[in-house]
């Protein structure tokens, strides 16, 4: 009698545990899809950004830089690797001779700069680590125009709070056109001494797979912030009206706007 009772209690316990685990899992999926849960979980992003900015902002700390021996033999391209958007294909086929970067929005002097003109702007060369949100890292040597200097030359208006980067590539086919790649960064990152618009990788013109003719490097953030195929940049007050309103292609698909972690 007693043994049976113990066994059945064990069985009940085991079933409760199994059922609980299954419920827990299903619960996590359901919770993951609920907007309320997401807004609670989102609190962590604000906390992360606030704490990291507190640790970083006063020091303007540089991302670690590496030596020539550390450079990855092949730098893994991700996302779009060969955009087939017609304007881009034409520019690429012309070897970007007629291509110009458009700088506009909340600036006093909108500019259009060719690759040659960008090459005349104050530049920085840096060998840095590229951390993909997926978990892997590659190291590459980048040369590009300092974004802060470009923005100063264009004369940023006081109302500007963010810089938006519009790219040539469509990473997802959508009906409402929100599948084009774009990114936004704030002025802290825009004026960071390592934030450049790179036109060279490993001492050669930027390859198409890695974002030719121009890609953004924001070295204290994850790879998806570093927009490739940058065609136009715009100083804006807020990014609410862009795409689906979360500040970038991947941000619109659930990733954090602040990608410092």
């Amino acid at each position: 009698m007693k043994r049976e009772a113990v066994l059945s209690r064990r069985q009940i316990l085991a079933r409760v545990a199994l059922g609980g685990a299954a419920l827990g899992l299903a619960g996590c999926d359901r919770l993951s899809n609920s907007t309320q849960t997401r807004s609670v979980l989102d609190a962590a992003e604000t906390l992360t950004r606030t704490v990291q900015r507190a640790l970083l902002a006063p020091r303007d700390a540089l991302a670690p830089e590496y030596g020539p021996a550390d450079i990855s033999p092949s730098f893994k391209p991700n996302g779009s690797v060969d955009p087939d958007d017609p304007d881009y294909v034409q520019a690429r086929d012309e070897r970007f001779i007629n291509w110009k970067l458009d700088i506009g929005g909340l600036v006093d002097r909108p500019m259009q700069l060719s690759l040659a003109e960008l090459g005349q702007m104050p530049a920085r060369t840096q060998t840095t680590r590229h951390d993909c949100v997926e978990g892997w890292s590659c190291i590459g040597k980048w040369k590009g125009a300092l974004l802060g200097q470009l923005l100063t030359a264009a004369g940023l208006k006081p109302s500007a709070g963010y810089i938006a980067f519009y790219c040539a590539d469509t990473l997802e086919q959508t009906l409402d056109g929100t599948g084009k790649y774009y990114e936004t960064i704030d002025l802290i990152d825009a004026f960071h001494p390592q934030t450049i618009l790179a036109y060279e990788m490993n001492d050669k013109p930027l390859p198409v797979a890695n974002g030719a003719p121009l890609r953004l490097r924001v070295e204290r953030q994850l790879g998806y912030k570093m927009a490739k195929y940058v065609m136009r940049l715009e100083a804006i007050e807020s990014f609410d009206k862009l795409g689906r309103g979360r500040g970038g292609f991947w941000e619109d698909r659930g990733y954090e706007w602040y990608a410092g972690i």
Binding site: C28, D29, L41, D42, A43, S72, G254
Partner: protein, 285 residues
Amino acid sequence: MSSASEASVNVAPAVPRGRMIYRHTLLVRVTHWINAICLAVLLMSGLQIFNAHPALYRGNRSEFDKPLLAMTAQQDGGGSVTKGVTTILGESFTTTGVLGASRDESGQLSERGFPGWITIPSYQDLATGRRWHFFFAWLLVLNGAVYVANLFVRRHLKDFLPSGRELRSIPESIWEHLRLHFPKGDAALHYNVLQKLAYLSVIVALLILVLTGLTMSPGIDAAFPWLVSLFGGRQSARTIHFIIAFYLVGFVVVHIVMVLISGFLNNMISMVTGRYAIEEDRHEA
């Protein structure tokens, strides 16, 4: 600390009896259970994140053709997944159904590092996995900070630091544990040497876990570049993070087994109410 009161309960054998002591303060009990929830969510969301690129490397950059560990799927000519393969230090093992390839909701074998039943969410969704992971990482850190501060303020750290005499008694203690002889009487008033070392190692492991987690952050690496050097590179930090996570899984398994076989109800009651029954040692009596 021990508010000893004689309790002569005489019901079923599973119910604790003996000298009742107050073993765990409210703070310890609350932080213990918050920690347990955090570790479960962090493990499962962590495996979701790992699944986005189920491979580990050494150093700063990923040598894609020389991973320390990789989970991959093999496909037949028609593109259907047929086999899951796990490669550790160049040795390959077939792990179909569990690692590399497992069945999705539709029952189809598909490419996946860890299977859906152990990830949050169960389906592939890196962005959501990260949300869960970072929220509970903050909770783990804040909860851990409260616990560790309490250790120092109430001078309880010594509870986990074994003496030289205790360290020399490790072989004897292992032998006693293997025979399922657990300390009784006054010896059960404090942790034995194996408990001390196990709990101390968990505190250290959690510290390394948090630090290696932070080292994966490009923002933190700019603020504290020494972290990258300390762990031998960002990819090494990711690998150590993974290994420590599984060290903790191992700890939890042993912990639960010990809780079960050394008086399940007594242990559970003590971690809920704080009260723990000391079984008197017959040899002493």
